[in-house]
């Protein structure tokens, strides 16, 4: 008997393994996903959208960064930053910090993001903004020769800047040297609005999908783990929710409770979770028979830990695939609602501009259809590309051997 327990030979992994960089399954899946061309293009586009969403006030703003008037320097853009602008910046910063914490677990990163937001958001809310917003004052001052030097944002028009300093009829104008993508019927700059509209697209996509994934994981997880009558009852609930048409529910709620972005997110989330729940249920039905789950139960771990710490990370992959399609459909739902004239009116939105393209009578402003329509198309397409690549990366049969 080889009894070398007290002094075991050093057990080294296979040579090939030691040389490859160590990656978890999730990291490997991400690398596989974004090494596909479609997904990397998709990710690049989403990156552009996210950048625009975070830095919208710096990209398109009627207020200049820096202004020298009567020998004094002023920073009107910073003075006019609103609490939501600051929260967007803070979130981007925190996500960046979390990404840098490479050696920490996902839980730690989430805590960094959530904790940071919890601290920074109330601080951001304290920021006061000038009550009367005159978009045209700086242009007027400049024209009057009061300003000696000025640094403007790349697109010098805020989304709600109706160019009150310029006389003329309120009508939509085609692209020109001043307005690269034309103007809306309210004489707002389309380019500026396009940039600011990225916020709604990103917000509605991620939050409503996030709501759906959380509800789906909890309900689907319990169904799959307990099986039996819990599963049967849960399945009936899923069928009931699947029967509710999202768009009609949205229209009904907007009609009764007004146009509220967060309500829309909640409704989209609350009606799209069934598909996530189905996926999680199927995964959990399979996982509950796995030895490591049995071993976790035998180790006396509480149900919460078994469900969400041990089973969920092993079964979440297909849900992430549907989630990326879900983000796309949430963006479409909002755009559809805005196009129908039932969306938000105070905020820039791609769907709203599409609606404005169809002007009075038979008039049609092509620039109001092409640019926002193109943005919607590209964004939805990008999410679908990512979702598809992700699905392929997680499919062991299609997995590339490296």
């Amino acid at each position: 008997m080889t009894a070398d327990v007290a002094n075991p030979e050093p057990m080294t992994p296979y040579v090939g393994e030691a040389e490859r960089p160590r990656r978890t399954f999730a990291q490997q899946a991400l690398v596989d996903t974004f090494s596909r061309r479609g997904a990397s293009i998709g990710l690049a586009w989403i990156g552009v959208i996210a950048f625009c969403a975070v830095f919208a006030p710096f990209l398109a703003n009627s207020h200049p960064y820096l202004l020298k008037r009567d020998g004094n320097y002023e920073f009107p853009l910073f003075r006019h930053l609103t609490p939501p602008d600051l929260i967007a910046l803070a979130s981007a910063l925190l996500i960046g910090i979390a990404a840098l914490l490479r050696r920490r677990s996902a839980m730690v990163r989430l805590i960094v993001i959530a904790g940071g937001l919890a601290i920074l958001s109330p601080l951001a809310m304290l920021k006061s903004t000038p009550e009367a917003v005159g978009y045209s004052v700086y242009r007027e001052d400049e024209a009057a020769g009061l300003v000696s030097s000025v640094i403007r944002a790349p697109v010098p028009y805020s989304p709600s800047d109706r160019l009150r300093d310029i006389s003329g009829r309120a009508e939509s104008r085609p692209p020109s040297a001043q307005h690269w993508m034309g103007t809306t019927p309210n004489r707002e700059d389309v380019f500026g609005r396009m940039i600011h509209a990225c916020r709604i697209a990103i917000l509605i996509g991620f939050i409503s999908t996030g709501i759906a994934v959380v509800i789906g994981c909890i309900i689907g997880g319990l169904m799959g783990y307990f099986a039996g009558w819990v599963d049967i009852a849960g399945m009936r609930v899923i069928e009931i929710f699947e029967a509710i048409p999202t768009l009609f529910l949205l229209i009904t709620f907007v009609a009764f409770y007004g146009r509220d972005l967060y309500m829309m997110m909640a409704i989209i989330g609350a009606t799209t979770w069934p598909s996530d729940a189905r996926f999680i249920r199927a995964q959990f039905l399979q996982l509950r028979k796995q030895d490591f789950v049995l071993a976790a139960i035998a180790a006396g771990l509480p149900l919460r830990s078994i469900l969400f710490r041990h089973m969920l990370p092993n079964g979440i992959a297909p849900v992430l695939v549907t989630a990326s399609f879900g983000v796309a459909s949430a963006i479409l739902a909002e755009a559809t609602l805005s196009f129908l004239g039932l969306g938000l009116i105070d905020k820039a939105s791609w769907g709203l501009m599409l609606n404005q393209a169809r002007g009075v009578g038979t008039s049609f402003s092509w620039w109001l259809a092409v640019f926002p329509g193109g943005a919607i198309f590209l964004t939805v397409f990008a999410y679908n590309l990512i979702g598809e690549a992700f699905r392929d990366a997680l499919d062991p049969k299609l997995r590339k051997r490296d």
Partner: protein, 380 residues
Amino acid sequence: MRQPLLEIQNLNVGFETNRGLVQPVRDVSINVYPGQTMAIVGESGCGKSVTAMSILQLLPTPPAQYLGGKIVFDGRDLLKLNERQMRGVRGKDIAMIFQEPMTSLNPVYTIGDQIMEAVTLHQNVRGKQAWEIAEQSLREVGIADPKRRLESYPHELSGGMRQRVMIAMALSCKPKLLIADEPTTALDVTIQAQILELLRKLQAETGMAIILITHDLGVVAENADVVSVMYASRIVECATVEELFDHPRHPYTEALFKSVPQLGNDSHRLATISGSVPNPAKFPPGCKFHTRCPRTRELAQKSGDAVEIVSDGERFKVLHACVADEPATNEVTRNHWAACHQLPEYAGSQPTIPRLDYKRQVVTTTTDLQSTLRSQEFGK
């Protein structure tokens, strides 16, 4: 006399299936004393794993049902505990390791994370201290460079290493009883020997009891103090390991020993047990082994009290008593229990619960070990 650590008394477990109630564990009684290794031996499907899972109540109910009996651990009947109390027992007092080390670890977490979770749960320590306990437990199971290994993912380890990690995890909370459900079946022979040696060493250090479930008689001979042989849902024989290997009494145990290949034996074919393991849904009446029992067949040749039965397409005579009545696990000789009508001592003996507070003398193999190590050094 010492109190047993674990007393299983007349345990009956049933499964509700669409063909009715199937009962894979009947009247099983097992007593395990502190520091003892109890082996449960039997073929696949004889109920040994179900018995083991019942101790920790790992069987999903439904379909499983506990139809009767007691599982007393440290004075508490585990079958009467609720799920919450049971969670306090699992992992802390009784730990379990499984057959498949390849799938028993969660693929998405590092070894350290997984050991830490159990440690923080049961030992009321946190952070750095828990990490040190995890590192120490890896060192105890003989894993080289435990600091680095704590940060490895399961897929980076070999099967033997993973089983060592499983053992480390199970023992990190110092359980009083370890249930090892075929711990070496999935490993190759040299690793098997290492793992079993490791279990022996850790048992000597911690004084825990082990329930070793296996179908490998070699493993039993090397490790067990007391052996319970299970056949078709029942314990058919129970004795100390030496007694059982020297004087097997039940025809099933005898047949098992005959079917083990022996070195230097020139026979052409290995002896087998005729027929197949009965399906738990349709156990034969009477003694469940009568359909395959060579003893009853032989005796039926000469006896007038025989009946003809058909089993596996074969027609043969067996003794009437074997079909009519199910034998109890009687203490046929002192400290040796067997369930067979045809033993001469059976009629005069009493059905009692097997209790054997026995620990075999540890054979020190220091000289062997040193010579092995020396020869290895010379080999290099």
